[in-house]
């Protein structure tokens, strides 16, 4: 994947909070390797104003990388539909969100699943990180 080409795109800092989605959970029960599971998992939900700042539209692909730069995924951006929450983004719990979670737990054994610091930038035209890319 050509991550390099997006370095110049505007980046937006977000804290990602993971959540559960019943449609995605149900599809996971059917199988983790389906297109449908990818479609419902490889998603980031952002504040509408934040999406605008990235110069992308709902449905476009964005690059999300974590603060230590050791986890990167390309996912589809969606509007959260919630009242203004600039700086906070949401991702369903999945291998895509888990690619971004820090290994360092300060020895507690509990990863920060609901508090992931990351940068988001446009990856317009790039394809979503596939299951085999993990």
């Amino acid at each position: 994947m050509g991550f390099g080409q997006f370095l110049a795109a505007p980046e937006h800092k977000v804290t990602i909070v993971t959540y559960r989605d019943i449609f995605q959970s149900a599809v996971m029960e059917e199988g983790r390797f389906s297109e449908e599971y990818l479609k419902l998992s490889a998603v980031i939900k952002m504040d509408a104003a934040d999406i605008k700042k990235l110069d992308v539209k709902v449905g476009d692909t964005v690059l999300v990388k974590n603060k230590d730069n050791n986890g990167k995924v390309i996912v589809r951006v969606e509007s959260s539909g919630y009242d203004s929450h600039s700086g906070i983004a949401y991702m369903p719990n999945s291998p895509w969100s888990n690619a971004l979670v820090d290994a360092d737990t300060g020895g507690s054994g509990v990863p920060r699943y609901k508090n992931i610091e990351a940068m988001v930038s446009s990856a317009k035209g790039e394809s979503i990180t596939g299951i085999d890319d993990f």
Partner: protein, 430 residues
């Protein structure tokens, strides 16, 4: 045909859904003898679960399909040759399988952990040690007048929670139901589907501010003016405190949103103590996997710890416990050299950077379905789907035991033994 199906349906007993730790016990199904073709009553996730996955796992060694006995002896060999094996999972296994896994962990001197290690472990620990008052879901249905969902969104995680137990039923002492007899509060960082049902009883707080909000609430319950560092009308905190104070039977359902936001359970213990000084409150953790609480209870009964233990090989009384024996730290510190994963998918559910060590060590997976972990495993052993292909017992999120029978005629299914049977056979092969 349709009419005939209906007759079958009405003559069927109710079944138990193992899709989550609510263990709904009112499920009706239609089967063709081998597979469940229709599921009634269950939620979306339950239906998918009971119908079975599209990618059932096969017995394999090094990616090659083998006879299940070959896979079982290969698994035993890995465990025999390991100096420090990890046994992880079991939240989707019956009590019987969990007890077998504890025996196996003792036999091989394993680190034993489950998903509670990075989810509801702290809440359950506080309940097991009687630091927090709990109750059953039946109590909630029959008596609860104030229900609080804190950092939880059952509309997505446990879809029948509200309709079966908490908000909508007309319970013994709550005959006027949600319209008059119950108040439902949601405290969360976002207006989740559950929060929408709470209407104006939704309290939105900023990320990571739960501990501060708890202390402000305790102040309000103590008659002091509540203060928080973020923008929040103190009048609304006082209003909330007032509802909680007046509760005859209150229950707080704790979700991962709250657990992950706290360094430890102390703020929750403080709040529960205060609430029980001025009111009558209980707490139930929103456990995900259908028998995670069972695993925690079984291990606690045996060792006094609910997760994160290491047994000394062959010495059943010698057990160590601590964060260093959590799956996350065991993998981070590379202190385990083989892994037996039962009914869970750490390559999907753990941070990628943590789970990576699993790619360097021999992994055995026992699961009904293919998972990210099974696709990288050295040995895979297919097992029966609990509640459909095998029976047993499990512990619901509130601590109640639920028994279930297999739905499918298991005599036909020799290819998929239960987790318990597989573990017993691994122990024999050792």
């Amino acid at each position: 045909m349709k009419r005939q199906s209906m007759v079958i349906l009405l003559n069927e007993n109710y079944h138990v859904c193992t899709g989550c730790a609510l263990l709904c016990d009112d499920i009706e199904v239609i089967t063709d003898g081998k597979k469940i073709t229709e599921v009634k009553t269950a939620c979306r996730k339950g239906v998918s679960r009971m119908k079975g996955c599209n990618e059932p796992m096969s017995p394999t060694v090094d990616g090659q399909q083998v006879d299940i006995d070959v896979a079982i002896s290969a698994a035993a060999n890995i465990l025999k040759n390991s100096k420090s094996p990890l046994i992880f999972g079991l939240g989707n296994s019956t009590d019987g399988a969990q007890k077998k896994a504890i025996e196996l962990a003792k036999q091989v001197g394993a680190v034993l952990d489950d998903t509670s290690s990075f989810c509801q472990g702290p809440t359950l620990e506080a309940i097991f040690n009687d630091r927090i008052k709990s109750c059953t879901l039946d109590d909630v249905r029959n008596k609860a007048d104030v229900i609080v969902y804190w950092g939880a969104d059952p509309s997505n995680s446990h879809p029948r929670h509200l309709s079966k137990f908490s908000y909508f039923p007309r319970g013994q002492e709550r005959q006027r139901g949600w319209e008059e007899d119950r108040t439902m509060i949601t405290i969360d960082i976002r207006k989740s589907h559950t929060a929408k049902i709470s209407g104006d009883k939704f309290y939105q707080i900023p990320l990571q501010m739960d501990a501060e909000f708890i202390d402000a609430l305790i102040d309000a319950l103590s008659g002091k003016v509540p203060k928080v560092s973020f923008e929040f009308d103190p009048k609304r905190i006082l209003e909330l405190a007032n509802i909680l104070k007046k509760a005859k039977f209150g229950t707080i359902f704790v979700g991962l949103g709250l657990v992950y936001s706290l360094a430890d359970m102390e703020p929750v213990v403080r709040l529960m103590d205060k609430l029980n000084e001025v009111s009558n409150f209980h707490l139930i953790p929103m456990v995900g996997h259908y028998n995670m609480r069972g695993f925690n209870q079984n291990l606690f009964n045996e060792t006094g710890y609910l997760n994160r233990v290491k047994f000394e090989k062959g010495n059943s009384t010698d057990v160590q416990h601590g964060a260093e024996f959590s799956i996350v730290e065991s993998l981070n510190n590379k202190t385990v050299d083989a892994a037996l994963i039962i009914g869970t998918d750490p390559l999907s559910s753990l941070p990628r950077s943590v789970a990576e060590h699993l790619l360097d060590i021999p992994v055995i997976t026992i699961d009904p379905c293919e998972t990210f972990t099974s696709r990288k495993a050295k040995v895979t052993i297919p097992s029966a789907l609990s509640g459909v292909e095998c029976g047993g017992s499990a512990v619901r999120m509130d601590g109640e035991e639920v028994k279930f029978e297999p739905i499918i005629d298991v005599k036909d299914q020799t290819i998929r033994p239960s987790d318990e049977e597989i573990l017993a056979r691994i122990m024999e092969a050792l």
